[in-house]
């Protein structure tokens, strides 16, 4: 049980990809620091990879936490089976009270399996942490973000995966660096069943640079309504058309136009969300936008919690009206 009081240990598992630590790692540190404000917590970092010496030193410097670097040639590419086996060995003797990792293609893959092996509770996609009395609450979105559930762990050990974009922390260099310990466990060369990690579709489109994004979600209904989205984008200077996962799954827009956890992370001056419900996986990719305007028929849609301007309208009615007025405004000039 995660009570406020005695000092506990939180192990933050860094996300290592292509020889470097991913930014989500620092979000996990942000979570650990937020937890530290609620109760005494000792933060430790763990990084797995084929060459982790320099990134371990860097993490120790920027976080002030002790870092355990686990180095093996088999860890050059992520592999769920290997991660579970290696981390189980590291944690099994003296498991930390809390283990946390990003809710990413790595964390959601090895996390629940590792938790089961360690007999730990597993709470995934956590976006907030709070305390009431002695109890610590981990909150996560449910029902596409329409409601949030406050969850209590009922075991001594808890593994958490954290929703990308939910916690923030900026690396600093003005502190005593933590200790670095690099270990090289023997791993069976056959243990990894990863055969390759490769770019699926190369693209020159860099959405992270887009000034204005007009984005379509499942709420557009029919493929034909995508025309409206394209017309709207054409009417706004420098606008690019994007979509949420269902639109890309349907083949209505190309893969490189997907915004969200498995797609692009964007931060335009204007994000115009058309028929997007606002599930956490999508929001993670667009919450850095300067101005968010959302059009949705469902007044309860989660996207409205992430919006500056909310328009409860049927987009097949609203967008044509908007287009008419936009072209009228242009002519008037």
């Amino acid at each position: 049980m995660n009570h406020v009081g005695e000092t506990q240990t939180i192990a933050v598992i860094a996300e290592y990809f292509a020889g470097a630590v991913r930014p989500t790692t620092y979000e996990c540190v942000g979570f650990a620091k937020a937890l530290q404000k609620l109760r005494p917590v000792n933060i430790k970092m763990v990084v797995l990879g084929d060459d982790v010496e320099s990134c371990s030193r860097d993490l120790a410097q920027t976080t002030g936490a002790d870092v355990l670097g686990i180095e093996a040639p088999q860890l050059s590419q992520y592999n769920g089976q290997v991660y579970q086996a290696v981390l189980y060995d590291v944690f099994n003797q003296k498991p930390p009270e809390i283990i946390c990792a990003a809710h990413s293609s790595q964390g959601w893959d090895y996390g629940p399996g590792l938790a089961a092996r360690l007999k730990a509770a597993c709470i995934t996609g956590v976006s907030q942490v709070s305390a009431r009395g002695k109890e610590i609450y981990f909150s996560r979105d449910i029902y596409g973000g329409k409601v949030s559930a406050d969850i209590i762990s009922k075991t001594e050990k808890t593994l958490l995966t954290l929703q990308p974009g939910s916690f923030r922390w900026n690396p600093t260099r003005n502190q005593e660096p933590g200790l670095v310990n690099i270990i090289s466990p023997a791993i069976d060369p056959q243990a990894s069943n990863t055969r390759s990690t490769h770019i699926h579709q190369a693209s020159d489109l860099d959405l992270s640079l887009a000034k204005v994004i007009v984005s379509a979600g499942r709420g557009i209904g029919e493929a034909e309504n995508l025309d409206l989205i394209h017309k709207l984008a054409a009417a706004i200077p420098q606008a690019v058309v994007c979509g949420s996962r269902p639109i890309i799954d349907n083949g209505w827009l190309s893969y490189d136009r997907q915004v969200g956890v498995t797609g692009a992370t964007v931060s335009p001056d204007l994000y115009l969300a058309c028929g997007i419900s606002g599930a956490a996986q999508h929001v993670s990719g667009m919450q850095g936008s300067a101005l968010v305007v959302s059009i949705n028929t469902d007044a309860m849609a989660a996207i409205f919690n992430q919006s500056d301007i909310c328009i409860v309208e049927d987009l097949t009615v609203f967008i044509p009206t908007l287009l008419e007025k936009l072209s009228g405004a242009k002519k008037a000039k």
Partner: protein, 267 residues
């Protein structure tokens, strides 16, 4: 068109019934549970629908394949089992729960693992997550309980009967994919976009509706210790100060244009 190769395969697909995305979601008076509005419509979780389709495609390739469907839920959940059979699955088991509400994924995985069809499966397919609770845990927990290798977020896969393996592509961030090979039996969780699930065939739906499903009562099954508890549910905090535009459609369009102009976004 693939030539049918002789290979006997038992595939288990775990499916869940979820409320329609537009469902009215309220918080119960005790603040601990979600209450769905009267008249809420339910359907198959989309990730699971893709898992059923993936299984049916394997069956089309290897004629000696049997597809068993497993679902946990109240009486209404039977509809998704019958729909799966309408899509091409052979039969199904319904673990019937009495109540609505949160079930710890540890409990769900334990009940699924207790079914003989899970223990005898060559391949278990689950959706990568459910659209309502979005935990993404049941697949990995079930695999771990059964001692099977697993992988998640699979967007492409192929069975190799020669060496009894499955090769999969899993989707990772930044437009990358990862290719893995798993020895069968194995469990794979399916990402949407892997296929376009077919509509159930009328003839198969008729058969599905006549077929009697295996029914297990959840309250008679062994209940493992729950590891987490939903203490309360709340409305999510507003991240931004949302201004809701009022008036007619025309009014709203005009207000929006003026907001965008003031921020120099239209020039």
């Amino acid at each position: 068109m693939a030539v049918a190769v002789s290979m006997t395969m038992n595939i288990l697909v775990c499916v869940k019934q979820v409320p329609e995305g537009e469902a009215q979601v309220r918080i119960d008076t005790d603040g601990r549970r979600v209450a769905l509005g009267a008249g809420t419509e339910f359907r198959m979780n989309r990730y699971d629908e893709c898992a059923v389709e993936a299984a049916v495609q394997i069956k089309e390739q290897f004629a000696d394949t049997r597809i068993h469907i497993l679902s946990i839920g109240p009486r209404r959940a039977e509809a998704v089992i019958r729909r799966s059979i309408g899509m091409g699955a052979d039969d199904g088991t319904h673990i019937m729960t009495l109540e609505e509400g949160f079930v710890d994924p540890v409990v769900t995985a334990h009940w699924l693992a207790g079914c003989s069809q899970a223990r005898s499966a060559d391949l278990i397919l689950c959706g990568a997550m459910s659209e309502d609770l979005m935990q993404g845990q049941v697949g990995p927990l079930l695999a771990t309980q059964l001692g099977l290798p697993y992988t998640t977020s699979v967007i492409d896969m192929a069975i190799n009967p020669e060496d009894n393996t499955i090769q999969v592509d899993r989707e990772i961030e930044g437009g990358y994919r990862q290719t893995l090979v798993l020895d069968l039996p194995a469990l794979v969780t399916i990402q949407t976009g892997i296929n376009h699930p077919r509509y159930p065939a009328l003839s198969k739906l008729l058969r599905a509706n006549r077929l009697s499903l295996e029914i297990l009562q959840a309250d008679q099954l062994d209940l493992p210790q729950s590891k987490q508890q939903v203490d309360r549910v709340t409305l999510p905090r507003k991240i931004r100060d949302a201004v809701v535009l009022e008036g007619t459609t025309h009014d709203k369009a005009e207000q929006l244009i003026s907001i965008l102009s003031n921020r120099s976004l239209l020039t």
